[in-house]
């Protein structure tokens, strides 16, 4: 849908399928990543995001299809979603280890280690054991280790999971700096608002991948609103009502109050009545803006409903989003 036009293609997936036993984790995925591009891979748990990245990184052999990497796999930088560095090595020793693994020589390595420590603000922690770092610092170190050999393409699986809001912004600042310097980046995220850091979006569901854009996701939800019923004082009542809507992501609690996603006010009242109970559907509803997460929830919900009514929907890639 959005092929990299002028730029050189660094990595290309053609009809790549990965099976684990009977489970199809990745289903005939096509994706091209060009130099200087940023691609966000979004989707719910179990959609196949991590599998996609592991195939791209060469950590997983596809069951079918082809992965072409212009730069050579050894040249890529990859940081997994869980902490996979050496906890019993220091920050600096980890960087040195991963640098040497990539065949870096003494002077160049020393220079790069210094640059990475400066980039991630880990200078003062260089002699600390990696296992003793806080969550945000571990993520920073994983990023530094993936970048130490200056890869043309960086693959980040859930780079900000478990990171506090302040450190999260700091991490994105680092990634954006790397992107600005010309490193192509592919990242997965279950926090949809992070899509804004990417120039292209790959939406995944059930192992299938569809390319889209922030604008397209938002356009799909045009005409929908978030209707908010202010909740004041004691939360006990609204909380026990909310317990009934575990299957309905269109109803949730926002800072401003109980929120329902619907096109029209009447429809919102009906949904509130069906889920949290009749008396809540009578109160004041204030129309407010959808978040990007809301838009995605609507898109996901729609495709689920489509699949239920149309058993042949699997022939259409669009239904996967």
């Amino acid at each position: 849908m959005n092929p990299p036009s002028q730029s050189e293609v660094l990595l290309e997936l053609q009809q790549v399928t990965v099976r684990f036993g009977r489970t199809v984790a990745l289903d005939a995925a096509d994706l091209r990543v060009g130099s200087r591009e940023t691609v966000a891979v979004l989707g719910p748990d179990g959609a196949g995001k991590s599998t996609l990245l592991r195939v791209m990184a060469g950590l997983l052999r596809p069951s079918g299809g082809e992965v072409r990497c212009q730069a050579g796999r050894g040249a890529l930088g990859y940081a997994g979603s869980t902490f996979d560095l050496y906890g019993d090595l220091t920050v600096e020793q980890n960087l040195e280890f991963f640098g040497r693994l990539r065949g870096m020589e003494h002077d160049r390595l020393e220079e790069r280690i210094a640059a990475m420590l400066a980039l991630t603000g880990l200078q003062d922690a260089r002699d600390r054991l990696a296992a003793r770092l806080s969550g945000g610092m571990k993520k920073g170190l994983s990023l530094a280790c993936a970048l130490v050999h200056e890869p043309p393409l960086l693959l980040l699986d859930e780079p900000t999971v478990g990171v506090d809001p302040v450190s999260k912004h700091a991490l994105w600042d680092i990634v954006m700096q790397v992107v600005a310097e010309g490193t192509a980046t592919v990242f997965t995220s279950c926090y949809l608002e992070e899509a804004v850091y990417a120039s292209r979006l790959a939406a995944m569901a059930g192992g299938r991948l569809v390319e889209t854009t922030v604008e397209e996701v938002l356009a799909e939800s045009e005409g929908w609103s978030a209707w908010v019923q202010p909740v004041r004082g004691d939360l006990t009542e609204v909380r026990s009502r909310l317990a009934r809507v575990q299957h309905e992501p269109r109803v949730y609690l926002r800072p401003a109050g109980l929120t329902v996603l619907a096109a029209e006010e009447d429809q919102g009242r009906r949904l509130l009545g069906e889920t949290v109970g009749g008396d809540w559907s009578d109160g004041e509803l204030v129309r407010s803006e959808l978040t990007f997460e809301d838009a995605f929830v609507l898109l996901e919900g729609r495709s689920l409903r489509d699949e239920r009514t149309d058993p042949d929907a699997s022939t259409s890639n669009e239904a996967a989003v």
């Binding site: 748990d45 979603s81 806080s134 999260k168 609690l253």
Partner: protein, 310 residues
């Protein structure tokens, strides 16, 4: 809150690696409360939870949980509490059902009662279709739900959750907070840590921990009110450029498709001036009410907390 708190600590202090990770902490959490434990990575949240559970001894101070002394009656206490740690402590090479049965037996459940409880929690967490799968081959979301189901098998009066929604997708996160509401209605006390600040509306009270100390305690609304002043939102065609300029000048962040200036007391005029000086035209600046995340960033910025420091 009932008369005798479910959790009570007095002057709790723990030094690790020469640093006060928990610093004279006084906590009191009542029965049926949902209590959110907030703070940056490294603030001492997990250490505190481990002391409460008797997994780690404090250097000074005391802690009582469900009427038991954390240090002297730790084993009995852990039988009575449901705890979900950040580390997945389940067996990845067992199936979902085998994990539930194993931990159920560890909690002293057996026979029909064990199978009833396993079935009830499997169905509450929508695990029925995954019961026969090896946990290690399940997606993160399923593993997370399985940890929660395990923690609730013995119907504890206190549930302690360390970052329960970390790595969950939007739908599962919303479902989780809804489920939590139901637990509170059943009079189960819940303590949790999270970085998803916009979701902690479900909490009765929050505390904000910075470098081992309580920086704030109160309701979500009170937390926002204690760091007052509007937040500025900037939209611009050249969003990245605007972000770079405003980050330099006011420590602004890119949030969604806007640049967000969370620092209190920044004037719209001075923002416009900075943008103009950088040659960025057509930007729109508006004021919005601060959110919990803004309050968090303000609190963290106002203390000695430095995200790069240990």
């Amino acid at each position: 809150m009932s008369a005798s708190p479910v959790i009570q600590t007095r002057g709790l202090t723990k030094v690790l690696g020469g640093r006060k990770v928990v610093d004279t902490l006084d906590l009191a959490v009542g029965s049926g409360e949902v209590y959110g434990f907030l703070g940056p990575n490294g603030a001492g949240k997990t250490t505190t939870l481990r002391i409460l559970l008797g997994l780690l001894d404090p250097d000074s101070g005391s802690s009582r949980v469900l009427g038991l002394d954390s240090q002297r009656q730790g084993a009995a206490l852990r039988q009575a509490v449901g705890y979900v740690s950040q580390l997945r402590s389940l067996y990845l090479d067992l199936t979902v059902e085998e994990n539930l049965l194993f931990f159920g037996r560890m909690y002293g459940l057996e026979g029909n009662r064990l199978h009833e409880r396993v079935q009830a929690e499997a169905s509450r967490f929508h695990l029925d279709a995954d019961l026969a799968r090896l946990l290690g081959s399940c997606p993160t979301g399923v593993q997370r739900r399985c940890s929660l189901a395990v923690a609730l098998l013995h119907q504890p009066k206190l549930l302690i959750l360390d970052e329960p929604t970390s790595g969950m997708d939007t739908t599962n996160r919303r479902g989780f907070w809804a489920f939590l509401g139901g637990l509170a209605a059943e009079d189960t006390t819940v303590i949790l840590t999270t970085h998803h600040l916009e979701e902690v509306q479900v909490c009765d009270r929050l505390c904000l921990m910075l470098t081992g100390r309580l920086r704030f305690e109160g309701s979500p609304r009170e937390m926002v009110e204690s760091f007052p002043g509007p937040v500025l939102l900037v939209s611009a065609q050249k969003l990245r450029d605007a972000h770079r300029v405003l980050k330099q000048a006011f420590g602004a962040s890119l949030v969604g498709d806007r640049v967000r200036i969370q620092r209190a007391g920044v004037e719209i005029g001075s923002v416009e001036q900075e943008l103009k000086r950088a040659g960025i035209t057509g930007a729109r600046v508006q004021t919005v009410e601060p959110t919990l995340e803004d309050a968090f960033v303000r609190a963290a910025g106002s203390s000695n907390y430095d995200q790069a420091a240990p």
